[in-house]
């Protein structure tokens, strides 16, 4: 097809179209129109031919009609006045004896999308609803939705809405489903089509008649239904069971989505449904289409958040095929990390190791990161693999390994020896800034154990002039400062040179300011510097992989079977292993961009962060039961020594200050009944607490008596001016609880926690009745005093403990 110059072609075609000889010869006329459409598809502006094409639509040839309509719908917006001429022909076509012609006319009448034509369209549309041919009714029903879409502000006649409701009983299943779609659109402001009991039962009975698309639509609309009784609920569930294990992934997913929303009050049933879809989901993961496989994987990731062990036995299904695209491989690895357990860890690591040398650098890095994640639970084996990979001397692999090691050490400080040993010599193969930043961080923090650290840094400092990356320069400054603190003799000279360069010659303000800061800090004396620079080396609370608490299904149920799960993961991988661990730790998750743009399901707040970093969102959700919104925070961190000091001081004071109501702190005791808590592994308890931003500081091992946990957090109430610090102790003695289940410290005499108190008391009573050994004594200390916040915190804590213990039970 040669390129046709725009104006010349238009002129030529116009001449042909208005030539009476052409018009009288059907075949030539149609061929000319064909040329017009072809040029239009190729992007040539044909709008000039509008009036000629309007004339051409008065024909008996259906194909010609269709072509002309395609043209008219594309250019109608540019020629609203001329479009009025078409309406006549279209309205005449609506009377045609051939239903195909009638439906064609109706469809295109509504596709013109001209508000000025609405008054002419309404009458044929109304007639279309009552047409005897199903194909016309299908078009007419959707036509009303299009009309509404065109002028969303105007009210659609109530009679039409009623008629659409009655058409839900149309014998043609597509008409029925289109009615649902149209009503959803028209009644959007009222929350969509009204789903009552008769409609629900009608739709369920006819579900089988619909095609895949129809079934999905029906299942989706039904999500809004709330069964009136438990019997009805289970009737519906049994009716839908066949769809739940349907071999068509879209139907299976839509049914599961419906199950989850129907059973939102019955977590056990939801979990059973998840178990039931395991087979079909796994089958979808092996589907022939890679996009479907990808979608299935993304949804499996959602499921795993609630049942981590769901796919445990089927881990081999997530091994990557050689020819699979990188996005599938990366998702599969993310899933594999979740599935690791004592039995399969060897096999899994062996497999992941194979992916580390993938030709695609991103896949290789993802595999290395995955090994690092598993390393949080199985550090020895993983470190062995990681160290081995360094031997390959491939720069992208080395970079990924060093970054992974840095992240691993931050979580598992016990790995530091191996890591320090492995670091020697890898600076030669490191090319990219991310990898070098990671290396510098490690050298700074563990400099005293890496013998060659000063020499490595010296190379960096000598080359700082030609260094392009801002991040590397900043990291270099910090690392050199840190190393100076532990090995001053070797580092002093180079630190001087570096500071001199950065202050005198560096053009970037950030680097210069940081150098100035360090310079002035050094002036304040070595002790001050040490205080600022030697923070925490690790944060063990971040990283348990196994025994992580399962999230409730409701956390993700609303985003299931939408576009959202497909996007989350990519954000997650981006946030992992970037910059130093200290810096990323308190970053809020950049998860908002999607939810803002997608209108139908803004889920409350996705806690997409897989590795349990701090986030306020879950705290929000848990705290939603409390009257005022309360959020917890771990910042500023409290060291164990500090904790001990405060705790003991306060114990002493508590003894003395029985009557002093004006005291700045509050002190309270509660009993919470949570049978299996003391048998929980420290990791899972810690992770659960972490999820709501409560930091656990010390544990006794599980199964020992008396069992104790110490914890702290900061609260900030939205309407309160300041935050408060709460220290707490969980104590389980295994003995009968004291007679009075609840007795509060005197300083807190005025706390208006009547409701909670009663409830706790009741629970306490039940506990006694059940054998009584299950109560855990909670002692809390708050400073400064804020009763509302304390109350809120206690309810969060109780929720966490209950969730954990019900999970164990």
């Amino acid at each position: 097809m040669p390129y046709l110059g725009g104006e010349e072609t238009v002129r030529e075609l116009r001449r042909a179209l208005s030539n009476p000889n052409v018009q009288s010869d059907q075949l030539r006329y149609r061929n000319t129109i064909l040329k017009v459409i072809r040029a239009m598809s190729q992007g040539v502006d044909m709008s000039g031919l509008f009036s000629e094409m309007v004339k051409a639509c008065a024909t008996v040839d259906v194909v010609q009609k269709k072509l002309v309509y395609v043209f008219l719908c594309s250019y109608a917006a540019l020629n609203p006045e001329l479009s009025l001429l078409v309406i006549n022909t279209l309205r005449k076509d609506c009377q045609d004896p051939n239903p195909m012609v009638r439906s064609l006319a109706l469809r295109n009448m509504t596709n013109l999308r001209l508000p000025s034509l609405v008054e002419y369209v309404e009458q044929p549309l109304a007639a279309g609803l009552r047409d005897r041919a199903a194909c016309v009714r299908r078009v007419a029903v959707l036509g009303w939705a299009k009309l509404h879409n065109l002028q969303a502000s105007s009210e659609i006649d109530a009679a039409v809405v009623n008629e659409l409701y009655s058409l839900l009983r149309d014998p043609d299943p597509v008409v029925m489903v289109n009615c649902l779609r149209a009503l959803e659109e028209i009644l959007k402001d009222e929350g969509g089509v009204a789903i009552n009991k008769p409609i629900t039962h009608h739709l369920l009975n006819r579900l089988k008649e619909c095609d895949i698309w129809g079934q999905c639509q029906v299942l989706r609309v039904l999500q809004r239904y709330r069964p009136q009784s438990e019997d009805e609920l289970f009737d519906i569930l049994s009716l839908l069971d066949a769809s739940l294990v349907s071999p068509h992934p879209p139907i299976m997913a839509a049914t599961l989505s419906l199950f989850l929303s129907l059973c939102s009050g019955q977590p056990a049933v939801s979990l059973a449904a998840l178990e039931r879809v395991r087979g079909p989901l796994l089958a979808a993961c092996g589907s022939g289409s890679r996009e479907m496989r990808f979608t299935a994987l993304c949804h499996i990731q959602l499921l795993l958040r609630s049942i981590p062990g769901l796919m445990g036995a089927h881990y081999k299904r997530f091994f990557c095929g050689y020819a699979e695209p990188a996005y599938i491989k990366q998702r599969k690895m993310q899933v594999l990390v979740e599935l690791v357990n004592d039995e399969n860890v060897a096999m899994l690591l062996d497999e992941l190791k194979g992916y580390c040398t993938d030709v695609n650098a991103e896949t290789a890095q993802a595999a290395i990161t995955a090994i690092g994640r598993i390393g949080r639970s199985y550090s020895d084996r993983c470190l062995e693999i990681l160290t081995g990979l360094l031997g390959l001397k491939q720069d992208h692999i080395t970079s990924a390994v060093v970054q992974t090691m840095r992240d691993l050490v931050w979580v598992c400080p016990q790995c530091s020896d191996t890591v320090c040993f492995a670091l020697e010599g890898c600076e030669e193969t490191l090319q990219d800034s991310q990898g070098r930043q990671a290396l510098l961080w490690l050298l700074g923090v563990y400099g005293e154990r890496v013998s060659s650290a000063p020499y490595t840094l010296e190379v960096f400092i000598d080359g700082v002039r030609s260094e392009a990356s801002l991040g590397v320069k900043m990291e270099l400054l910090t690392a050199t400062m840190r190393l100076f603190l532990c090995r001053p003799a070797e580092t002093q000279d180079m630190l001087g040179r570096l500071l001199h360069y950065c202050i005198e010659e560096e053009t970037d303000m950030c680097v210069r300011d940081q150098a100035l800061l360090y310079y002035r800090l050094l002036h304040c004396g070595i002790e001050e510097t040490r205080k600022v620079l030697q923070g925490r080396r690790s944060d063990p609370s971040l990283g348990v992989l196994i025994g992580r608490p399962a999230e409730p299904v409701s956390q993700w149920a609303r985003s299931f079977n939408t576009l959202e799960p497909l996007r989350q993961g990519s954000i997650e991988t981006e946030s992992v292993s970037r910059g130093s661990p200290e810096h990323t730790m308190f970053d809020p998750k950049p998860n908002a961009d999607l939810s803002n743009t997608l209108d139908c399901s803004r889920i409350e707040k996705v806690h997409s962060d897989g590795d349990g970093r701090c986030s306020d969102s879950s705290a929000d959700i848990l705290a939603s039961s409390v009257a005022a919104p309360l959020s917890l925070s771990l910042f500023p961190a409290l060291s164990p020594e500090e904790f001990e000091r405060l705790w003991l001081q306060q114990l002493a004071l508590h003894a003395e200050q029985e009557e002093a109501g004006k005291e700045d702190f509050v002190w309270m005791e509660e009993c919470v009944r949570c049978p299996t808590i003391p048998r929980c592994s420290p990791q899972s308890l810690q992770a659960a607490m972490q999820l709501v931003n409560i930091q656990t500081l010390a544990f006794t091992p599980p199964q020992t008596l008396p069992w104790r946990v110490y914890l702290y957090t900061h609260t900030c109430l939205d309407d309160a001016p300041h935050s408060t610090l709460i220290l707490g102790e969980l104590l389980y003695t295994g003995e009968e609880p004291q007679k009075a289940e609840v007795h509060k410290g005197s300083a807190d005499g005025g706390v208006g926690a009547e409701g909670i108190e009663d409830e706790q008391a009741r629970q306490g009573m039940e506990a006694t009745a059940d054998g009584g050994q299950e109560a855990v004594k909670v002692t809390l200390r708050q400073q400064p005093r804020d009763d509302k916040a304390l109350k809120g915190f206690l309810s969060i804590l109780t929720t966490v403990l209950h969730t954990l213990s019900s999970e164990r039970a």
Partner: protein, 433 residues
């Protein structure tokens, strides 16, 4: 669901054809698609969803075309992909081959199809059998408006028209199984499954009612019979014509078939499959000089059966040159553009063993590039044989007029997308299928 618009693009990102279904997104947004796709590909973050602002593109690639659905809603991803694949399926049935040329040549039909397949962003009629009744390529030839309305538009049985007539009434049943085996470098089978499908070619008059009997273990257990070999099928998928309720109740597969060719059902069997053709290979790489490859293939199936068109694909380093081959049977060929040696054996009887030796030169300068280590794959077909042992026990054909019809059954086993893992670099390896 709801897609706002559907685009068909060529490889350069030029719009070949598009349809704006909802009018709520600016059609010019598609101009961002290709640059974003390229950018993501470069960063290695390629993903089937691409977003620009509040517009999301969900795309699939088919031969030299991109099919893109554009939406600004949080729509149901799996449904959109299903729809795009449905588009491919429908177009392929119309044009045999779906590619840039066929879209260019048939854009009238494509416009017509896009109109019928979806309205206002919702899929409408997607069954190609039905569509073919009223959208035909012949329609493009001039013919003054037929007033005949296809019965299927309003029919109770949407996949079959009434009044079909054949002189000789026949049904052909093909049972095709393909096996996927994953073997690691030590020669142990990591995972294996069988994907089977039963295809029909129906040439029957009127509205016949068919019943198909298989040696389904669940059925045999249900009826208390326990003789002969039975199979357990998983993930059974049926054509929409099969009455699912009957299958669930008593495992009867009963249906009114669509006319012509169709896939009646597909299933998966997750059993341990012994590799049918076992491959052992020794690949020795002498750096800077040569590679020597020895491959041994052994047929591990019944002596009576014969595997046809066996193809063993052995990957070689990309910088190899001057190939030399020696085979005990069949032909070996070097395909340099794919870095493969393809050894073809026209017919391979069960129980036999064949050998192939290959010798390649290597340049004296070492290739630094990191090379993928693709697996050895084997393709073949074994007629008159199914791995799972599935059997068609009977096919009953009942029609009002009471004609006699003949069912024909054919079995065939193929190797599917067989995957074998290549781990160690040019060491002693053994693979199999």
């Amino acid at each position: 669901m709801s897609a706002s618009a559907i685009f068909v693009l060529d490889l350069k990102g030029k719009v070949l054809i598009c349809r704006n279904y909802k009018g709520d997104v600016d059609m010019a947004e598609i101009d961002h698609f290709m640059p974003l796709l390229m950018q993501h590909e470069e960063e290695g973050l390629l993903c089937p969803v691409i977003s620009h602002g509040n517009v999301h593109f969900m795309w699939i690639k088919h031969s030299n075309l991109y099919l893109v659905a554009m939406t600004n809603k949080n729509s149901n991803a799996s449904l959109v992909y299903s729809f795009l694949y449905k588009l491919v399926e429908v177009f392929t049935e119309y044009f045999k081959e779906l590619e840039e040329e066929s879209i260019q040549d048939n854009f009238v039909v494509v416009y017509e199809l896009l109109d019928e397949l979806m309205d206002f962003g919702f899929p409408q009629t997607t069954d190609s059998k039905i569509l073919q009744e009223y959208i035909t390529q012949e329609g493009a030839k001039l013919e003054v408006a037929k007033t005949k309305v296809p019965t299927t538009v309003t029919n109770a049985v949407s996949w079959r028209s009434e009044g079909i007539k054949y002189k000789k009434n026949e049904v052909f049943i093909d049972v095709i199984e393909s096996i996927n085996v994953l073997v690691n470098a030590n020669g142990s089978v990591m995972s294996s499954d069988i994907v089977g499908s039963i295809k029909l070619k129906t040439m029957l008059s009127g509205m016949p009612e068919l019943r198909l009997g298989l040696n389904d273990r669940v059925l045999f257990a249900l009826t208390g019979r326990d003789k002969g070999k039975t199979v357990v099928m998983e993930d059974v998928k049926f054509h929409q014509c099969v009455r699912l309720s009957r299958f669930e109740n008593d495992r009867t597969i009963s249906f009114i078939p669509p006319d012509g060719e169709s896939e009646l059902m597909s299933y998966r069997i997750n059993t341990h499959v012994k590799p049918l053709i076992w491959i052992e290979s020794i690949i020795e790489k002498f750096s800077h000089s040569r590679v020597e490859i020895m491959v041994k293939a052994k047929g591990q199936f019944k002596k009576q059966s014969v595997a046809n068109n066996v193809e063993v694909r052995v990957p070689v380093p990309s910088d190899a040159d001057s190939p030399k081959f020696k085979t005990s049977t069949g032909n070996a060929k070097y395909v340099p553009e794919k870095n493969l040696v393809v050894w073809t054996i026209k017919s391979f009887p069960g129980g036999k063993e064949f050998l192939m030796r290959a010798h390649f030169g290597l340049p004296s300068v070492e290739n630094d590039e990191l090379e993928g280590k693709p697996p050895i794959t084997v393709k073949f077909e074994i007629p008159y044989f199914t791995v799972s042992g599935i059997q068609v026990r009977y096919m009953k054909i009942i029609e009002k007029s009471g004609y006699q019809a003949l069912p024909w059954v054919r079995y065939i086993t193929q190797s599917g997308g067989t995957l074998l893992i290549w781990r160690n670099k040019y060491l002693w390896l053994s693979y199999c299928v």
